[in-house]
């Protein structure tokens, strides 16, 4: 019953505001985290055997009447479902303590669950229009969550995010309408088939360009990234983690990859465009990150840079490149969520996000400092952590594909990455303890627990990378490479 990934969070979210009238904190915490943990357990134990026979399609009946609900799962979808479930489970645990002082927990969890519904739906659908609908579900929930604190800066960031996100949705919808007009169908397979029969370069080019604009905005690739450095830092820390760790990857990278690989087919020109978009994002965002004073803004720019790596890997289009891109997506989801959660812990303890005001926090917050170091090193690509292996795969794939220039860019940019992450470590956690923070305490239990789990994962992904790649990444890359047979 893969449909649980959409149905269960939807039903729980619908009752949560009512539950919140009865129990302000305990029940919403239990219900929401129960859903997250169940979905994660199901992804790991129940859903994998389903895929033994290749891609899977499910249709539903309602009292014997066939319903028009059709979902499809292949390795790529299941991989994304697992990543979503994993990160949301950790973020849910973290929210138990962190969201105490925001109030209205039930509404917060309801919106968070709606975001998960949108993302899971987007990963499971088989038709273009449903991609648009579920993208909007996740987006509408995320606008409200960015503004959840209702301070001036948050509302402004949410408005900016809303405006640019609407442009993205409009571009995607226009592309879908164009394809529907051309081929008279909406499902991936039928549209792909129709495009091949028409063999019209101009129309396909216009639709591709519109998709690139829309999904590029959603994924915050340079030059479409203007909204992200405002939106991600303004949100509450767990939401920043979900936005950076999941949302830009699911409604940006996943949707783009699915459409380009399974509807249009990856042409050499498109592959070139994707690779350069990725490379430009990597470099520009890394340079911008170096100049930041605000811890969360630096992390936000880093997200743009790392999504650039993912798109670069997927854009190569060779099996090795796809595997590297997907593995980096997983590593970045885990490590970036961890770093955003830690920035929340620091902000809650000290009341500031300004790196210049911090200093020496490692003495007062040892767990946060240690987990932050692990996450930083993983993203920067330091062996033996996960990020090292995924960047290595991408660079090897670039060398194989005879793209030495891009390979050099990827290597040099990871040095930049290490540089700005060390700035965070040095300014926030190392050095002399600033007298102002003498009374600071370590983050509460649930917050620390979530970050420790994620840090252990960062280590595990690196140490057991070969089994991770063969169990999760390879089926996903195969699913992408051969299409769903839809």
């Amino acid at each position: 019953m893969i449909f649980l990934y959409i149905g269960l969070p939807l039903i729980v979210a619908a009752v949560l505001p009512l539950v919140g009238k009865v129990s302000k904190k305990v029940l919403p915490d239990v219900l929401a985290n129960g859903v997250f943990l169940f979905l994660f357990a199901y992804a790991v134990t129940g859903a994998r055997p389903l895929l033994a026979g290749g891609a899977l399609r499910q249709t539903f009946t309602w009292f014997g009447e066939p319903l028009g609900i059709q979902i499809a799962v292949d390795g790529f979808s299941l991989f994304l479902l697992t990543v979503i479930a994993l990160v949301s489970a950790c973020v849910g645990l973290y929210s138990i303590s962190y969201m105490e002082h925001y109030g209205s927990k039930a509404n917060y969890y309801a919106l968070l669950l709606m975001m998960i519904v949108g993302m899971n739906g987007l990963v499971l659908v088989t038709d273009l229009f449903q991609i648009y609908i579920f993208m909007e579900v996740a987006a509408v929930a995320s606008y409200a969550l960015v503004a959840f604190g209702r301070e001036h800066a948050e509302l402004e960031a949410a408005f900016k995010y809303l405006m640019l996100s609407v442009v993205a949705s409009a571009a995607v919808l226009l592309a879908i309408a164009l394809l529907f007009g051309l081929t008279g169908s909406l499902s991936f397979a039928a549209v792909g088939e129709g495009l091949r029969r028409l063999d019209d370069k101009i129309a396909a080019g216009i639709a591709s360009a519109l998709f690139l604009l829309g999904f590029g905005l959603k994924a915050a690739l340079v030059p479409f990234h203007a909204w992200l450095p405002d939106a991600h830092p303004s949100a509450p820390a767990p939401i920043s983690a979900i936005l950076s760790g999941l949302l830009i990857k699911v409604s940006g990278v996943y949707a783009m990859t699915r459409v380009f690989f399974h509807v249009f087919g990856l042409t050499p020109a498109l592959s070139e465009v994707l690779m350069w978009l990725g490379a430009v994002s990597i470099v520009v965002a890394a340079l911008l990150a170096l100049a930041q004073k605000d811890m969360k803004r630096m992390l936000a720019y880093s997200s743009i840079s790392q999504v650039g790596y993912v798109v670069l890997g997927l854009g190569i289009g060779t099996p090795l490149g796809i595997a590297g891109g997907l593995f980096h997506l997983l590593n970045h989801a885990v490590a970036k969520s961890l770093l955003f959660l830690n920035s929340g812990s620091v902000q809650q303890a000290t009341g500031t996000r300004d790196l210049d005001e911090m200093g020496g926090l490692a003495k007062r917050m040892p767990i946060t400092a240690t987990t932050n170091l692990i996450g930083s090193l993983s993203i920067s690509g330091v062996p033996p952590l996960g990020g090292f292996w995924s960047k290595l795969l991408i660079i090897m794939a670039l060398v194989q594909a005879r793209q030495p220039a891009l390979a050099v860019i990827a290597v040099l940019a990871s040095v930049l990455t290490l540089w700005y992450y060390l700035i965070i470590q040095r300014k926030a956690f190392f050095g002399k303890l600033n007298a102002r923070w003498a009374e600071v305490k370590e983050a509460p239990f649930w917050m620390s627990a979530a970050t420790v789990i994620l840090a252990v994962l960062c280590l595990a992904l690196g140490l057991f990378f070969s089994s991770v790649v063969s169990t999760w990444i390879q089926p996903a890359a195969d699913g992408l490479a051969k299409g769903m047979g839809m």
Partner: protein, 160 residues
């Protein structure tokens, strides 16, 4: 063709007025006019269901809600706005129309399309049986919107 173009131009002008108007009532009415014109365009393009929904829900119901809300919240509807929009928008719009006209002139009648599949079944059948998943998605969008309003207009708790 000329009538269609006139309708679309009117639609864009009304939509721009809805954003640029200082008075909220005028903005709400302009929005209603733009969606009314859109509804007519739908009818002319032989999409009667889309037209009916557009006119009844967007032009009718939503406008009523807006105007009720504006009437109930007795503030002076003047909003302080920057004046840049007044000159940036027309420039952008003219450039866009020029580019659009050139592109369309080059493309119209050149793009081949496949014949659309035959309409299968009545409107209700299509909505409830073939596109059921879209309805689940629609439900989710509406729920998200409701939760967003609940969250952003919540009362301050004691511990906030």
């Amino acid at each position: 063709m000329a009538l269609d173009i006139a309708l679309l131009v009117g639609l864009v002008l009304a939509a721009a007025l809805a954003i640029l108007a200082k008075d909220l009532i005028k903005a709400a009415v302009a929005l209603a006019v733009s969606s009314l014109l859109l509804g007519i365009v739908f009818f002319r393009m032989s999409a009667p269901f889309a037209g009916v929904f557009e006119i009844s829900v967007v032009a009718g119901l939503i406008t009523v809600l807006f105007i009720l809300t504006i009437a109930l919240t007795k503030t002076d509807g003047e909003v302080q706005e920057s004046r840049t929009a007044l000159w940036i928008f027309p420039i952008f719009f003219i450039v866009f129309i020029a580019v659009d006209a050139l592109v369309m002139k080059g493309l119209t009648a050149k793009i081949a399309t496949l014949p659309a599949g035959p309409e299968s079944g009545a409107f209700g059948d299509v909505l409830w049986k073939q596109r059921t998943f879209d309805l689940v998605g629609q439900l989710a969008v509406i729920l998200s919107g409701v939760f967003a309003v609940l969250a952003l207009f919540r009362k301050r708790d004691k511990d906030e």
